[in-house]
Amino acid sequence: MKQGFFDKLNSIILIAGFGFFTLTLFVVVILPVLDPVNSKPSENLLPYTEEELRGRNLYISEGCWLCHTQFVRPVGGDQERYGQVSEAGETVYDKPHLFGTRRIGPDLARVGKKYSDEWHFQHLFNPRAIVPGSIMPAYTWYFDKDPAKPNKDAKAIVAYLQKLGTGIGRKREAQPAKAENDVKSLINAGKTVFAANCSPCHGQKGVPTLPGAANFTDEEWVHGGRMEDIIHIITQGTPKGMPQWTGRLSDAQIKQAAYFVKSLSPSGKKEMGVE
């Protein structure tokens, strides 16, 4: 078999080996990196604070980026679900990037300021208490046995999460995410669920028509007033006559109703940041 140009040792090592690799490196790595568009920070983007950076490193070490992506695409329903499409300048301080390749959980590129710190602590401590059916791990080691007692690391993680997506400034308000997890959207959706299912006993606005049914406009929470308590009661019912709604309402509907219920009391309004 005659050895031609293509199976000579030098061709293989120098051209196919080093040559092609270097060519590709130049075209799809060096040229794009030299493009200044990728190094200019977005309008409102500040570098990470020390606490946020520590939180980010914990996010990396726990592998959160394996389930949660961080970029909103212009396709696939991303914008309606998550908000504004991600810009090149938003991740200028991200070393390394955390774009992600799999959505086992929702994208977090615009999760910043969507939920209160308290929501995040409750969710991190036991995701299933806040989102029934969630498969996210319970990060109990960041707490002193109680979601109300986050340690320094938990606070750092939440500080990091609260920054995500805030770098585009006013552009963010121009296109808020519709869908499921925005607190206001949840309360709005919950209003409909409540009216259809709960109002016969609890009244349209939480003042009960059925004697013995709970009043949601006061500050008395017999079975506990945390979000997870309310979700639990709606799901399981109580021995005193509140029915079980699991199976009759989806987990998402139960969550929406719980948000609406909580928003009916003065302290609930304050905690959730609504009127």
Partner: protein, 449 residues
């Protein structure tokens, strides 16, 4: 009689340790899969959460199983094709120990939460340094032996091994150092896509194909069907593959032209796959009766079928119109398993069946166990792949409906995840049977007549 050029103990060291890693990597994958429907199964144990063990599975099967076995086979194939022993067997022994220790460090540090945040490059930089040293030790022996070879003609497997070493060493350094410490944001993602797909395309693919090109002719005792096709395959893989990396981040803020280059070159990869497939089926001419009889032929040819599917599925996934229902879903997970397991692991397992008699002088301990192994992994994997693709499409189409709450999609996926775990269990049992069979062959197999 031909002078013995192989250091059998050296190759055995790599092969046996690789099988231990196969069991570990697969087992970790199995328990990770349980967390999808039993999320509290390891409650309060940080080291066993999905976010820590997922990369132990990936690094375990890609580097620790596949890498270790492949290094061993390189130390078998290179001396054979150069008709001389390795220029320095002691350095190869250092490589064996260094590599296994590096893999052990990788597993431990990942469980403890030390993580660079780069998929398939999670191990911290200290481990990266050890990996690069391993590559350099390998390069020294491979290139040294090739430069001093007694057989003047360079067989195709040697091109792929040499190219693979050059590409992988450069790629590993760029991905694990430049992509993590030198650049940020979109640039970091661009380098990561480059690194990630190069690991599959110009490390795993060339080495895997190199081995199949050697062991299929060896097992069938037929010459390779076409030298010219092997040239076309090699040069098109070398040219097109490194451009494709951005297909991992389509519709991200990476520049559109870079993404388009990635899509087009992903399509061009259809060329080399046809050369490889034609060459393998051509090499089987007149020897198809071996397919039911010979485990090596069985695994290599089935792996070849999966190779065709992988290299048609991959380009299709890179198309912009196919992205919305597939990207970010289990569909892609299915594709990844099709490549790393369906092609490259099936090939390696088949080659182990071939090489054990050569290394130990003993016949396979049990053909029955071999059949159990084959069918368990084939059926288990087929169910897993179909489950991930169907589930992935269900997931993807629901992602596209923003009125469907995310948590409702999780509920719909749970049955698919349960099926995946059952399929994975079947595969794991198959691996255990394989490991037992190989172990018994080494200890007590009948001497080859």
């Amino acid at each position: 009689m031909q002078e013995e050029v192989i250091n059998k103990d050296l190759v055995k060291g790599f092969i046996y340790s690789s099988i231990v890693w196969l069991l570990i990597g697969a087992f970790v994958g199995l328990i990770a899969s349980l967390e999808f429907f039993l999320p509290d199964i390891f409650k309060d144990i940080p080291y066993l959460q999905f976010g820590r063990i997922r990369q132990i599975h990936v690094n375990g099967v890609a580097f620790a199983w596949w890498g270790t076995a492949t290094f061993g086979l390189i130390y078998y194939v290179v001396p054979k094709l150069c008709a001389r022993p390795l220029i320095n067997e002691n350095i190869a022994k250092v490589h064996l120990w260094l590599w296994n220790i590096t893999m052990l460090f990788t597993v431990i540090t990942l469980a403890l939460g030390y993580n660079q945040g780069i998929e398939v490059g999670e191990a911290v930089w200290q481990i990266d340094v050890l990996v690069v040293i391993s590559f350099l030790l390998l390069a020294y022996n491979v290139f040294g032996t090739v430069f001093k070879r007694k057989e003047p003609h360079l067989y195709v497997s040697l091109w792929y091994i040499m190219g693979g070493i050059i590409w992988s060493s450069l790629n590993y350094i760029i991905g694990n150092f430049a992509g993590v410490y030198l650049v940020s944001g979109v640039n970091s993602a661009d380098i990561h896509g480059f690194y990630l797909h190069n690991t599959v395309g110009i490390l795993i693919t060339p080495m895997g194909v190199a081995m199949a090109y050697y062991f299929l002719p060896a097992a069938t005792k037929n010459p390779l069907y076409s030298h010219r096709l092997s040239i076309i395959g090699f040069w098109t893989i070398a040219f097109f593959y490194p451009f494709t990396g951005a297909h991992h981040y389509l519709f991200s803020p990476i520049q559109t032209w870079v993404q388009t280059v990635a899509i087009v070159t992903s399509m061009m990869l259809i060329i080399p796959v046809w050369t490889v497939v034609t060459n393998f089926y051509g090499t089987m001419r007149g020897k198809w009766h071996l397919f039911p009889q010979d485990f090596t032929v069985k695994f290599l040819i089935i792996g070849n079928v999966f190779y065709v599917i992988t290299c048609l599925q991959g380009p299709a996934q890179a198309l912009r119109s196919v992205q919305p229902p597939t990207h970010f879903t289990d569909w892609v997970v299915g594709h990844a398993h099709l490549a790393i397991f369906g092609v490259f692991t099936m090939w390696l397992m088949g080659i182990v069946y071939y090489i054990m008699p050569k290394l130990t002088g003993r016949e396979l301990h049990s053909k029955t166990l071999g059949h159990w192994h084959f069918w368990l992994v084939l059926i288990g994997f087929s169910i897993m792949a179909l489950d991930l693709w169907f589930g992935g499409l269900v997931e993807g189409f629901q992602f596209m409906r923003p009125d469907i709450p995310f948590i409702d999609i999780i509920h719909i996926m749970k049955p698919f995840w349960i099926i995946r775990s059952i399929a994975g269990l079947a595969m794991f049992i198959g691996f255990v049977i394989f490991a037992y069979n190989i172990f018994m062959t080494a200890k007590a197999g009948k001497t080859v007549s």
